[in-house]
Symmetry: C2
Subunit: 546 residues, 2 copies
C-alpha cells in the first residue's frame, strides 16, 4: 500500500482562512479610511450576509462576480464571500480604459457586478456592451441614489438578506478568482486561481516573509495597510494572510497621499507594500517629514526598487526591500531577504545590504526559479549570465482564459515563462535585468538593453538613452542606441561608443554589447503613457541601417 | 467552468523542501555531536547517495524502511531520502521493550532496517521474529565490525554507491512515514503520514511559530537543536522546517545532559523543543548555572508545562511555552502563543503571560479544534466547560495500520478524537485537563480527575492523591478519591471531602465534583513505569463500594 484512503479529506479552501481569527476571537479591527471599524466577528457576519446576497442574486458554483471598488473592507469581504460561495471573484482593473474594462468584464463572463458610485459614469458608457451582466449592485460611501435597473445597494442588501449559515464545500481545485493582465500589445488576458492555490500562497507568503530573521516579518502584532490596489493580483496575497492571522488591517479607499499619511500615523501601521512610485510620493510628501516611520516595513514590487528610493527609505528607518512576481504567479515568487550567512563579517555590510534589498530576491518556499536560454537550458548561476526567468510553484495560473495559444506559450516546456530576463547569483538571489522582448540577442549572448541604457546615462553629456536590438544576419541581433544630449552639452557617436567600450574593456559587460550605432536624436519615441516605444525605435533603427 | 485543467500540477512532495537550501546555497551546517559538520550541498549529495543505496537494496515504491538511530544527521538524511525514493520511513521507538520493537517492525512490514551499533543486542534478541526483514545495514559511530548477514555499513555503502541522479515523481498522497504509538492498553498502533501532509505540516509549523510576534519565532538566523527524539512524531516536524530554511542544525546523538549543555553553548543554539522532564534535567544540571540561556527559545510538549518549570525557565530569560499535539496529528496542533490584543493593558501582565505560556495554546493555521460531549455537540468556549478535544487539519493520520476498529473509533463522526479532555476559553486558548478514560462523567458533567487531585494536594496533610470514577446507577459515575497522608499528619475523610466542598461552594468546580468517598491508603496503585494505575483503583473502589 502506497496511497492511502482518508476517512476525511481536508480541502484547502479559502473559507478555512477565515476560521482562525473567528475561533480565536481576534480583538483587532478591519478599518476603512479610519471611519468604519469592524471587529472580526462583525466582519465574519458580513461575509455570511454577503453569501446570502449572492444566493439572492442567483450566484452559484462558477458564477463570475465582478467587483469595482477602491481598497476597502467591502473588497476584503468579496475576497472571502464570493469564492466561499463557489463563485469566482473577477477583480476589475479600474485604471484601464473604458473599452478595456468593458472587454475584460464581458470576456470574464461576469453575470453580477458590484460597482462603487465613483465608477458609475464608466459603467454607463459601457453598459450596453455587457449583455451577460444580469445584476448590478451599487457600492457607495455617500448618499448616492441607486440607479434604475440596479438590484440594490450593498449595505441595504446586506442588512435585508437572510445570512448564509454555511457556505458549500467543494473540491480544492475549484476556481476562486480571476482578473486581467495587460501587456503592451494585444488584448488583456484573463488569469485565474483556485482555492488550493490561494491557500498555499497564503502559507507561502507568511513563511517567506518571516524567513529571514533580519528583515521582513509579519505577525499578529503588526498593523497592515496595503498600498497596492486590491484588484491588482489579490493585493499580493497579503489580505488573505492578514485576515488569517486576525491582524489589525487598514484600507485607505481612494488613494490620496494625505489620507495615507494620516492613517499611517493614526492607525500605527507597521506593514505595507506598494510600487516605487507610491513610496516615492509618500516619502516626499511635505507631511511625511514630521512623521516617525522607523516602525514601518515596506515590500516594494511592480517594478525594480531604485537605489535612491531604497537609501532614502533606509535613512528614515524603514525596513524596505523588494519582492518579485507577476499576475500569472498569484503573485509572490521572491522576496529580497537578508542573510546572516552572507552578510556576517562583510567589511561594508550596510552597502551590501542595500544591494540585496534591491534584488528581486530569494525564491520563497516551494518556489522553483530557473533562468534558461531559448532551448530551456539552464544558464550558470554566476550573477552575470542572463536567461529568461521560468518558474514552478503551487500557485500559478493554469493559463489565460479562452486563449490556448497564449497559454501554450506561457507554459512552454512545462514551466511558466515570466517574459523577464534575469541573473541568479551563487547564493540564489534573482535579479531582473530586462524584458525578453527588449533584450538584445547577439553572438549567442543576451545583452540587457536596460543595462546599456544605464551605462550611457553615466556619460555626463547624456540626458536620455534607449537601446534596441536590430536584426543582423551574422550576429542575430546587434544593439543600436538612441541618445538625447543634455542642453548645451556635446558628444559624438565615437565618444559615446567609446564610453561603452571602456566598460566592456573593464570586463563589466560583454564585448558584444557595444552598440554598432549611436543615433543622436532630439526626443525618444514614447508610447501614449510615456514609456519608451522600443517597437518604433527598432523600426527606425532598421530603416536607418538599411 | 469551475474546475480547471492545469498544464502543470505542482505536487506537495518532501523532495521540494530540500530544493530551497540547495538553490540558495545555504552556508549553514548540519552538525552531529559537534564532530561531524555537513554543508547543505554535502547533505544533499548524501541524500542522493542514500537514494542510490536504497535502489541497490531493492527498495521501491511503498517499501517499508525501518530506522533505529539516535538523533543524527543520518536520521535527517533518512527523513528525506526514504520518502523521496517513494519508500516509507518507519521510525522505530528505541525506548520500547524488545518485544514491542519486534512487534512494531514486523507489523510495519519493514523489509530493510538501518540500525545503530548500540541496538545490535536488541536486534539479535528479536531477529528471528522479523521474517519479512531481508536487508540490514549497520550504522556506527565507532569502529564496530559489520555483523554477518548484514548488507553492509551505512558510510561505506554511501561511499560505494552510484548516487541517484533524480528521485521519482509521484502523487502527493503517497505514504511517506509511519511509526507506532503505545497506549496504556493494547498493542502499539501504527500511524502514517503522506507527502502532502508533511509538506503542509512544515508550512503550518513555520506559519504557526512565527505568528505571535511576542513569543516564538523561527528564522534562518536561528540555530536549531531538537531535544525530542527523531523517532518521536518527526521530532514534531521541526527538522523538515529547519532544513527547508537552510538553518544551522545540531543533532546530539545519544542524549547525555553534559553533551547537550556543551552543544547548547558551543553551537549557540537558539531554538529547541522537548518534554518537561528533559527541560527540568537541563536547567538543574550543575553546569547549567554558569550558562547564558537568554537567547534560547523552547517549545514544551509531550505533557503539560508545569508552572514551576515555566517560572524557572523564564527567570533564566528563556522564551518557554507549551505546544500540543499527538502521534496521530503529525503532531503540531496548537502553540501557546501570546497575544497583545489580550495582554496589552492587563494590570499583571507577567502573571497572565505565564498562564498563557502554560496553556496548550491556540490552534495553528488550518487547524480546527472542537471540544465536544459524547454526542459530538460542542460545549461552550468559556474556559470552564470540558469536552473531548477533536480536530481536523490537513495532516492527520488516516487511521491505524491494519486496525479498522481502532481507526473507526479514532475518526468517529468525521473528526479525529484525541482522547484528551479540554477547555477552550473565549479567546480560543485550549487547555488540556484530563484523558477521556480518566475523566469522571457524573450528572451530565465531565469532571477532571486531575483537577480534583490538584485540589486535594492543596490540603496540608495530603502527600499523594488520585481520583477515579466508579459506576453509579443514578449519576453514571461518581468520583472516589484515594489519598496518602504526609508522615505525622492527620486528616479524616470528612475533612478532606470538606476541603473539596469548599472549592465547590466557591464556584471553582461543579458541586457534583465532591468525591463520594475518600479512601485513606498507605500507597497508591501504580503501573510498572510509575504512573497512577487508575484501572486498578477503579476496581478497588468498586470492590470497596460494593
Amino acid at each position: 500500500m502506497t496511497e492511502v484512503t482518508e476517512p476525511f479529506r481536508y480541502r484547502l479552501l479559502i473559507g478555512q482562512l477565515l476560521k482562525m481569527p473567528i475561533a480565536q476571537a481576534s480583538r483587532r479591527e478591519i478599518v476603512y479610511r479610519g471611519d468604519t471599524r469592524l471587529t472580526y466577528p462583525q466582519f465574519a457576519a458580513r461575509v455570511h450576509r454577503f453569501g446570502g446576497v449572492l444566493r439572492d442574486l442567483g450566484a452559484g458554483m462558477g458564477t463570475r462576480v465582478a467587483f469595482m471598488d477602491w481598497d476597502s473592507h467591502r473588497y476584503l469581504e468579496a475576497y472571502f464571500a464570493v469564492p466561499m460561495a463557489g463563485a469566482v471573484l473577477m477583480m476589475v482593473n479600474i485604471r484601464l480604459s473604458p473599452e478595456q474594462i468593458a472587454y475584460t468584464i464581458d470576456h470574464s463572463g461576469a453575470e453580477i457586478l458590484f460597482v462603487h458610485a465613483d465608477f458609475l459614469p464608466v459603467l454607463a458608457a459601457i453598459r450596453e456592451r455587457l449583455p451577460k451582466l444580469r445584476q448590478v449592485v451599487l457600492i457607495r460611501d455617500d448618499d448616492i441614489a441607486v440607479p434604475e435597473g440596479f438590484a440594490g445597494e450593498y449595505e441595504t442588501m446586506l442588512a435585508a438578506t437572510a445570512p448564509l449559515d454555511a457556505f458549500p464545500e467543494f473540491d480544492e481545485d475549484t476556481l476562486a478568482t480571476t482578473f486581467y493582465t495587460t501587456g503592451t500589445t494585444g488584448l488583456p488576458k484573463g488569469v485565474m486561481f483556485t482555492h488550493r492555490q490561494l491557500v498555499l500562497h497564503t502559507l507561502m507568503v507568511l513563511t517567506g516573509i518571516n524567513m529571514s530573521g533580519l528583515n521582513g516579518g509579519l505577525s499578529r502584532e503588526d498593523v497592515y495597510m496595503p498600498l497596492t490596489p486590491m484588484f491588482h493580483v489579490h493585493a499580493w496575497g497579503f489580505p488573505y494572510a492578514a485576515t488569517m492571522l486576525g491582524m489589525q488591517q487598514v484600507y485607505v479607499g481612494r488613494f490620496l497621499p494625505e489620507v495615507v499619511l494620516r492613517l499611517l500615523v493614526e492607525e500605527r501601521v507597521t506593514v505595507s507594500h506598494c510600487v516605487p512610485t507610491i513610496m516615492h510620493m509618500i516619502l516626499n510628501a511635505p507631511a511625511a517629514k514630521a512623521i516617525d516611520l522607523s516602525r514601518w516595513r515596506v515590500v516594494i514590487g511592480g517594478s525594480a526598487l531604485p537605489r535612491p528610493l531604497c537609501e532614502q527609505a533606509l535613512a528614515r528607518g524603514i525596513d524596505i526591500f523588494a519582492g518579485y512576481g507577476m499576475s500569472e504567479t498569484c503573485p509572490v515568487m521572491t522576496l529580497a531577504q537578508l542573510r546572516g550567512d552572507i552578510l556576517d563579517g562583510l567589511p561594508d555590510r550596510a552597502e551590501a545590504e542595500i544591494g540585496y534589498r534591491m534584488a528581486a530576491g530569494l525564491p520563497g518556499p516551494l518556489v522553483e526559479v530557473r533562468i534558461v536560454d531559448e532551448a530551456m537550458n539552464d544558464v550558470p548561476h554566476d550573477g552575470k549570465s542572463v536567461g529568461e526567468v521560468v518558474t514552478r510553484t503551487p500557485a500559478l495560473t493554469p493559463g489565460y482564459a479562452g486563449n490556448p495559444e497564449a497559454s501554450a506559450a506561457l507554459w512552454r516546456g512545462g514551466w511558466l515563462h515570466t517574459g523577464d530576463i534575469g541573473t541568479i547569483d551563487a547564493d540564489g538571489y534573482l535579479r531582473i535585468v530586462d524584458r525578453v522582448k527588449d533584450v538584445i540577442k547577439t553572438g549567442g549572448e543576451w545583452i540587457s538593453s536596460i543595462g546599456l541604457e544605464e551605462i550611457l546615462l553615466t556619460h555626463p553629456a547624456v540626458s536620455e538613452a534607449a537601446v534596441v536590438g536590430v536584426a543582423d544576419e551574422r550576429w542575430g541581433e546587434r544593439p543600436v542606441a538612441f541618445v538625447v544630449l543634455r542642453a548645451g552639452m556635446e558628444a559624438d557617436e565615437a565618444a559615446l561608443r567609446g564610453h561603452v567600450q571602456a566598460r566592456a574593456d573593464a570586463g563589466a559587460i560583454s564585448r558584444y554589447a557595444v552598440p554598432d550605432r549611436v543615433h543622436l536624436v532630439e526626443t525618444l519615441d514614447k508610447t501614449s503613457v510615456g514609456k519608451l516605444d522600443k517597437k518604433a525605435m527598432r523600426a527606425r533603427a532598421t530603416g536607418g541601417a538599411a
